[in-house]
Symmetry: C2
Subunit: 173 residues, 2 copies
């Protein structure tokens, strides 16, 4: 193995390890983040066994997290003709990755919050004391804000990269 190939392997391993550590901070499990990093920097699709070997993890773990990444829309399953194995390929376009993550987080984090806030607002609607009114108002304000966030998330997720940049330029200028 040549010196440059070795240097690449090293840089890539570093990236995988660090991305995994970051994932933990973002509330994503380490293995999932590592697999994502590995595949985002893979020149071609990898199979379950290759992922297992590269990251030194069990089949069950590799399988679960690969499927989870597919559910997030961050990996595609690739089947090669004449082969039974499944290969996995990462979305490499950074903007598309961002869109996927935004959609998924909205679904998992924003939508449930909205449910809760609406329920609490409704339940406190008719409580006719100063404290009751204050509580209701607080719920309403949270609800309004989260609704706003929800709309923004949808908007952003629908944008084309170019448009987003244009908007950002306006915002920043």
């Amino acid at each position: 193995m040549s010196a440059t190939t070795d240097a690449l392997k090293q840089a890539r391993d570093e990236f995988v390890a660090q991305w995994g550590a970051l994932g933990t901070q973002w509330g994503i499990n380490r293995t999932m983040a590592q697999i994502h990093a590995l595949l985002m920097t893979a020149p071609e699709p990898l199979g379950t066994d290759e992922v297992m070997e590269e990251l030194e993890i069990s089949r069950g773990n590799a399988h679960t997290n690969l499927k989870e990444l597919v559910a997030w829309g961050l990996l595609r399953v690739v089947v090669r003709k004449g082969e039974r194995r499944e290969y996995f390929e990462a979305e490499k376009d950074v903007w598309k990755v961002f869109i996927m993550v935004t959609r998924e987080r909205k679904r998992r984090e924003i939508d449930p919050a909205l449910q809760v806030l609406r329920k609490c607002a409704e339940e406190s609607q008719d409580i006719d004391t100063p404290e009751g009114r204050a509580f209701y108002e607080q719920m309403r304000q949270l609800e309004e804000f989260v609704e706003f966030a929800s709309t923004m998330a949808d908007r952003v997720a629908g944008m084309k990269h170019g448009f987003a940049l244009q908007m950002a330029a306006k915002m920043l200028g």
Copy 2:
């Protein structure tokens, strides 16, 4: 206790419990989210003992999470004249809460990612093979995007509520 007071307590308990559960999904610990919910809906500042009693948690747990919330800028410490106890009061303005959370998440999630990406880009800068170039390019694209996110976070965190609404209207219109 009157019926309406009772209904309020019930609604509030529900909110605290659910907000705690949501917190878990956001990668924030349950107790911290519960304390935050409790104080956001408290008509006046509470002391450690009241928080302990309300949520049925230990002193150590209450203390740690109260201080953590202060560190996030989501609670203020209030001292009443002639008293030694510390009381805690939540920021109730939803927009201000959002700003604080944005700042803190940028610091904890975006900045470290940028460090990692810069290091990996630098390390792979001179690897002169097709795979090396591809890796370097991927790091650069990620870096560029995260830089963009960082700038946006700073911008948003510097906005006044009114301005944000105005911008949102433009975006959505």
